[in-house]
Symmetry: C2
Subunit: 179 residues, 2 copies
Amino acid sequence: MRAALDLFTEQGYDATTVSEIAARAGGLSKMTFFRYFADKREVLFAGQEAHRQLVTDAIAAAPAPATPLEAVAAALGALGGSFTEDRRDIGARLLPVIAANGELRERAVAKRAALSEAMTAALEQRGVPGLPASLAAELGTHAFYRAFAQWAGAAGGPPLTELTQRAFGEVRAAAASLG
Amino acid sequence: MRAALDLFTEQGYDATTVSEIAARAGGLSKMTFFRYFADKREVLFAGQEAHRQLVTDAIAAAPAPATPLEAVAAALGALGGSFTEDRRDIGARLLPVIAANGELRERAVAKRAALSEAMTAALEQRGVPGLPASLAAELGTHAFYRAFAQWAGAAGGPPLTELTQRAFGEVRAAAASLG
DNA sequence: CACGATGATGTTACCGAGTCACATCGCTTA
DNA sequence: TAAGCGATGTGACTCGGTAACATCATCGTG
């Protein structure tokens, strides 16, 4: 993943072949790359399966009387807490690379949707009807990505958990004031 | 597009080559296909550039005192009205094909995000700040896709404009009751 | 009517993503 | 020491996608 990020930054995503990435990552071959990543894009997004699990568990573990938004807040806390400080600069390098390429943006959007769907399913598991479940999940996802961009962009700034909490508050307030 | 939809339905997306699609669509060659569609997936999503334009124009044309949600409602009206009744069965055949394939789902999600971003940008053009703009746009997009699935799934049911309006009302109510 | 322009299509060749069957290497364990 | 096993490599293949160049029909104009 580091090898890929370096090469994409230097040459751009399109101009980098999978064989190059594998070679830079310790003289490996294309074949080995595909044993670890489903496709070329996935090298920048691997490990997000864990995020799915995190939010699902956190929502399931929320106390019974918690409202949907409270359960989502708990999920965001768990998710934000899983990003240790040393990953901040990786995030900072990742975002512009993704922004610069259509295929990567598409995958990023898909991952975001998958996170939202995971939260929706977990809320429905708690008995929340589909519509409010998906709305609460989308608000939470929106807040998280907002906070993540802020976190990655400000070295030495507040930790992600704090930014996430703050962003979720702002999103809730803005949603309420829409009428 | 009809040729592709037929083949995808019969054999599945993966098992269908671009050459097959082109051949079925009047004995054409692979090369001709790519002159009309940016890639294989796009054959099922072409024309959505027009949707972007529709919502952008509708939001720009909304009366000055309109709230963000009112402007979005106008956009949904224009968008829903652009789907004539004879396209309903195409929609009905499209949705299961997309649902059956990961690449197609990914593209569908990207198109949905693009629509939402177009609405967000149009709202910001009216002076709406970024956060409420994107939230209003997401609520509208959510309502539209909900209504579209309903419309495609119920032959002979109410027209899309009506379902869209209703769905938007339900989404607004659900969002308000989240707290 | 002939001519040149134009647009749509085809041909060929090429690159890179992604897959598969099979071989190899190194380390562990009985 | 030999069997086993996991990680990796090789070579060949398909298909998506691109580019250069050729062909052909149509059509407006002199």
